[in-house]
Symmetry: C2
Subunit: 352 residues, 2 copies
Amino acid sequence: MGISARKEKILRAVVDSYIVSCEPISSAEIRERFLPDLSSATIRNELSALEDMGYLEQPHTSAGRVPTADAYRLYVDKLMPKKKLTRNELKTIRRYFDHKMTEIDEILHQTARVISEITNLTGVALIPDVTDAKLESVKIVKLTDSLVLIVLVTDGGILKDTTAEIAGNPDEGYLRTAGNFLSAAYQGHSLGEIAASESLIRAIKKEYEQLFKTIIKVIKKHAGGGYAGNIVLEGGAKLLTQPEYANTQKARAMLEALEAKEQLIPALTGAGARDIDINIRIGRDNEMGEGMPECAIVTANYRINGINIGNAGVIGPIRMDYSKVVSVLDYIGKTIQELPDGERPPDTDRDE
Amino acid sequence: MGISARKEKILRAVVDSYIVSCEPISSAEIRERFLPDLSSATIRNELSALEDMGYLEQPHTSAGRVPTADAYRLYVDKLMPKKKLTRNELKTIRRYFDHKMTEIDEILHQTARVISEITNLTGVALIPDVTDAKLESVKIVKLTDSLVLIVLVTDGGILKDTTAEIAGNPDEGYLRTAGNFLSAAYQGHSLGEIAASESLIRAIKKEYEQLFKTIIKVIKKHAGGGYAGNIVLEGGAKLLTQPEYANTQKARAMLEALEAKEQLIPALTGAGARDIDINIRIGRDNEMGEGMPECAIVTANYRINGINIGNAGVIGPIRMDYSKVVSVLDYIGKTIQELPDGERPPDTDRDE
DNA sequence: ATTTAGCAGTCGTAAGTATGGAGTGCTAAT
DNA sequence: ATTAGCACTCCATACTTACGACTGCTAAAT
């Protein structure tokens, strides 16, 4: 059961206004700026009704109205205008992506950075879990007598490498052969499978056993370990420009939540985030997960040539410019789509 | 020309007190807590003299005294007590370093993290410039048909790797040979030299030329690029617990300075930081470099087996517990000294 | 000559009070 | 159903007062 068109107009006015000013808005101001054909008294009646419906709140009796989290929810689902980015903003985004990038990490870092720059919120990116990635090959490179570099290449070009110490000073040929052997044995299996299954050990020749154990350890480190360390944040300090964090108390709670990145995982990966392109979650205290302060998270899922390369978005106060954020995420999606071919996104206009 | 012993005692009392309370201290309180044998009037006279000498300030006429930056300088150079870390703190440090770490990056990350945890300030680490590192070998590993991994191994075990796209789908043997060839040609030369000199190109066989150019690009990226990206920060939000940043204005200035990591470079690498083990710089506005707010930076230079592995320390308000910070940096130094051998630092006592 | 007690003077902080105005809810008229 | 009008609420601001924390100075004591 919906609400009347007029109520929607008024609610939208409240949210639109509050998003930029962070101040309660009065019936008179709504009339003046958004709905001059109605009297303030009528608007007041509607406001009162919207308050009863749980969409608005008053900080105190003689103050204007402020949207609730429910109002934002309705706003993003139904009322939100489609905002266009300015030329400068488009240019900024393009500039961030105008050189070749081969590593997913780098793309996501850049994405988080540009999101933060444009929205003045904290940019966040989630580097995808490699547990389900299929192993293509294992390369083992000798660095020094006791140190090797283990490189795991997976489908989608994801790449994980780690140095490991190794005993017995094996020669390069041996390591190469071992790498080829392991590649052959494991090719097509996901890292998760490899980390989990003990049975595959049997297939391994005796002479590779020590090396094998080391590599399994490396794979486990990447596969089993959850997302910790795979969350990228850019522009944490930007949040302090937002008036809701003028109070140091709240600012600290928020920044601490950001520093404990693991806490963010449920908020970034929760239900619903999987299949749709843009995911907006608006949460009061503890709705976002244990210890997370009241905030909103908007993320997009990015793909290149159909291959998932990760999620990126913003984290900020519930009062944020959702429309702009969505536009930014959208345009970035188009931009990185075209990245590998060096093409420009279709709606690009070049201006000096 | 020094100051009298009694003045030193009083100054130390002021600083010691201010470090923990962040409140101006009165003559009466000094008498009570530090120097019961003197009258407050005498202390008042001395305070007045110290103020004339530039070591103390009054926020206003009827307030107690507060140390100036000069006072901190004198304090760390001469007056500071040697504080012992608590058992818990020692344990915390040891826990951070109780597993094997082969990568310098990882050690410095951990260092910054533990420093932040114990001091409640922002931990900072500077990963050393590789411009002067001598190249030991170049490894080129084929990942996919068009992608190779270029690994640069330098003396001291420093390692830089980057993926690069490459045309012509060369086979593995070719890449290995090319790697060996380049290793031989460049071994012993510093990355800086290699990046700078064009003359070495002549020695390169025609067939390696394209690959060579790619690798030079990679080396230049690491060698010429300055420190950007080599600065590690941990615990930025911790600063908000410090009373000097209760004011959001100042907090933002500080956090923004931290985000623009490049700005930190002069502060971390300035004159004097080179040869001594622990470097304390206490700066008023702009003394630390353009755009840096008033703050203090304490760093230590860490070595393993005589090889420099980087600097790490804290950044925080001028009012910080220098003694504790120095103790922490010191103990970390001992701990990572012993890291590769798995030994414990000498003064370690194990308690459950 | 140094130290100290005593006291006047300064100034910030906290608490209390008054005022203005912003905004609402309600009522009654349209 | 809408709206003008008005009484009412309550916050923000400014102003005042009182208190008390410290100092600096002077004069006496050591």
